[in-house]
Point group: C2
Chain length 246, copies 2
Amino acid sequence: MIASVNPDPSEPRPGSAEWWRNRYRAGVPAGRPRANGLSLDRICEATMAIIENEGLDAATMRRIAEYLGTGPASLYRHVSGRDELLVLLTDRLMDFDGRSIEEDLDWRSGCELIARGFRGLLLGRPALAELCSRGQMLGPNSLRGREQVLRWLLREGFSASLAARTYLLLTRYVIGSLHTNDRSSKQNPDERAAVIRLFEEIDPVEFPTVVALADELGGQRPEDEFEFGLAVLLDGIAASREREAP
Amino acid sequence: MIASVNPDPSEPRPGSAEWWRNRYRAGVPAGRPRANGLSLDRICEATMAIIENEGLDAATMRRIAEYLGTGPASLYRHVSGRDELLVLLTDRLMDFDGRSIEEDLDWRSGCELIARGFRGLLLGRPALAELCSRGQMLGPNSLRGREQVLRWLLREGFSASLAARTYLLLTRYVIGSLHTNDRSSKQNPDERAAVIRLFEEIDPVEFPTVVALADELGGQRPEDEFEFGLAVLLDGIAASREREAP
DNA sequence: ACCTGAACACCGTTCAAGT
DNA sequence: ACCTGAACACCGTTCAAGT
C-alpha cells in the first residue's frame, strides 16, 4: 500500500506511455508456459471470469489465485502487481473491429458506427468502461482500433489535426458517457423513477426549475442521452469540417 | 467487505436518488456537537486535509480517525461508512456559484462560462473530479448549481427538454474530459512527450497512421482538448437551437 | 446513551525457505 | 532457477464492553 502511495519514480507506472514503450521495445516476453501450468493467459482468463461473476472489486490477487488453485504470491511471477494485471487485461478486452467502417459510408454515418460500436464493446464486457478510464489505452489491441479509425477519418477528408482531435473527442465522449451513467445505474428504470421522485419532492421555492424539469432531468434513458450527445457532437464536427474546407 | 460486495438492498446506496430522498425527507440531522468534539464537519475537514496532502486513497477511515486523535470506530457515530462520508464530502465541495451568468451574456458565452467555471471548480479541489464521477450529484449544493444553470438556460430561450439535455451533456462533458485526462496526467508535459515518443517508435507498418499523427495525438494540452470539444459541443447545440426555433 | 478497544474478515506485496 | 507459505503492513466494519 505504501508502494502505491509513494510509487518508485524510477519504475514507470503500468499503463503509462513510458511503461508501454518499454514493453514494446522489449518485445512480448512470450509468456512461455511454466511447470505449474500458470501463465499470463490463464491469469487473465481467471480475472475475467471473476469480474463477470462477482464484479471488479472482487477480482483481488487473493481471489484470482484461489480461483487458479494457488497462492497469491504465485501471480507475481507473471505480473508485477494488480495494477499491471488490470492494464494488460484491459487491452486484451479492447478488440475493437473497425473493418465494418471500411465500407461506403459518409463521414457522419461512419462516425456514428464507430461511436456506437465502441460503446457496444464497452457495454458488452463488465467493468470495461471503468477499466478504460484509468489510462490512455496505449496497448497493441487499442492501437489497432485507433489506427483503423484514424486511417478512415483521413480518407474521408479530415485533416491530420482534425482527425486526431475528432478521434480523441469521440472516444472520450463514449467513455465519459458510460462512466457517468453506468455507475449510477441509470440503466435501471427504477433508479430513473427514483430520481424523478426526488426532484418532485425537493423544496419548490429553492429549486423551482429543477422541480419543473423533473421528468426531463431524471427520465432520460442512457441510450437517448448518448444519442443526443452524439448528434450534437457530429453537428459540431460538421461545422469544423466546413470551416476547414468550405 | 462482504457488505460492499453484497450490499443490503433494503438500505439504499449512499449517493443514490433514494438515499438522498430519505435524507431530504428526514431533514438534516443538524449534527449537534458531541461530547468528544467530533462532528461531521470536523470529519469532513480532516478528510479534505488528508486528500489534499496525501491523496484520495490515503483518506482511509483509520487515517482520518488518527488525524482526529481517535479510533476508526468513532467515525461510525457520524457516518454510516466510507462511501457515505465521501458522498457527503463531495457535495460540500460542489459550491458552484452561477451568479456570474446572470449577467447579459448570449447563450453561447454563458455556456462557455458555465463549462469553464465548473471545470475550474473541479480542477481546484484535488480528487473532486474523481469523486464526481461516482454519482449523480444530487446533494443540496449540487442542486443549487443545477437550479441556477437551468433557470438561465430557460431564460435564454431553451425549451425545457433542450435545457435539460444541454445541462446534462455539458456537465457530463466537463467531468468526462477531466477524468480521462487527469488520471493519465496529460497535464504533465513530460507525459505528453512520452506519448509522442511511443507513437513515433511503434511499428510503422502496422500503425502507419498513428505514427504519422504522433504529434497531433499525443501533444494536445488538456486545456486545448477541452476547448476544442467545448466549441464542437456548442456548435452542435447551436444547430439544435436553430432546429427548435428556426 | 454514547463512545471506542479489540476483534473479524479481508487486502496487496515481499521474501526467505523450500524444491 | 523457479515457486510459494508465511509474514508484514495495511484495509472497512462490527460489537461487546466500558463510561
